[in-house]
């Protein structure tokens, strides 16, 4: 038998968002890291589906490719590319923190800007390769 203690009734994450917590640039980047992470987890279905379609022969593959080249497929792929580039860049930012570097607010804000810039640059580069080459 357990009785409810005050600790059992404490509010649990993410109760504080918006109510008690003021968003800042760095915390926005943090929550985007998590959202892109979950998005990429769902996106693995896209990668797996592509390879399974490839293994299923030319007819199935053509159908899958048809969906991917449609506007919604391209939109999904573009979102996946950006999510990956952001999560990758911000992941590297996390690895530096894990080594105890770049913790002060000024540096964390600056590295955040760098990560967002790099995510758009790498996404543009990947799509330039896809469309221009």
């Amino acid at each position: 038998m357990t009785t409810k203690t005050p600790a059992d009734n404490r509010p649990l994450s993410p109760f504080m968002l918006g109510q008690y917590y003021r968003f800042q640039w760095t915390s926005m980047l943090s929550i985007i890291h998590r959202i892109t992470g979950v998005g990429l987890s769902v996106g693995t279905l896209l990668v797996a589906g592509w390879l399974i379609a490839l293994a299923s022969g030319p007819i199935v593959y053509a159908q899958f490719a048809h969906c991917l080249t449609a506007w919604y497929g391209q939109l999904l792929l573009f979102g996946w590319t950006w999510a990956l580039m952001y999560h990758l860049g911000n992941g590297i930012r996390h690895l530096f923190w894990d080594m105890g570097r770049g913790f002060d607010i000024k540096t964390a804000e600056k590295s955040g800007y760098a990560v967002v810039f790099a995510s758009f640059l790498l996404t543009a580069a990947a799509w330039a390769v896809a469309y221009a080459l």
């Binding site: 992470g37 490719a65 580039m85």
Partner: protein, 125 residues
């Protein structure tokens, strides 16, 4: 009413001495995914517009097939570790949490094995 102190309870329910393992393998898989995911995105971008035979030819190369299997295995593993943390953070009902944690592990295993099998089937077929 329990006579155990909150600290003692926390210790009893604690990390079972493998708490650091999750942290470490999450970082290790992240480091591995830096080159693997960049290679994947830019390789597939170069394949854009290619038909079934062009893509199959690409996957059939041993180095590509090996890199793909490494990428898929590491990505699904990293994904399972991350989704686990998200569930632990936001699902507060114990039964639901346990079901979600088990379910996501199984799902990641299925997607990982199915996609790796697909690569091997193309590469060895």
């Amino acid at each position: 009413m329990s006579l155990r102190s909150p600290l003692s309870r926390a210790r009893g329910l604690g990390s079972a001495k493998d708490g650091v393992h999750h942290f470490w393998v999450q970082r290790l898989s992240a480091v591995a995914l830096i080159p693997l995911s960049l290679w994947f995105v830019f390789s597939v971008a170069q394949l854009a517009g290619g038909d079934f035979y062009a893509v199959r030819h690409w996957v059939s190369a041993p180095t590509v097939a090996i890199a793909l299997v490494l990428f898929l295995g590491t990505m699904l593993y990293h994904s399972a570790l991350g989704v686990q943390v998200v569930i632990e953070d936001y699902v507060h009902h114990e039964g639901l949490k346990l079901a979600a944690l088990i379910g996501q592990k199984f799902l990641h295993a299925v997607v990982g094995v199915a996609s790796i099998f697909a690569v091997l089937r193309v590469a060895l077929g």
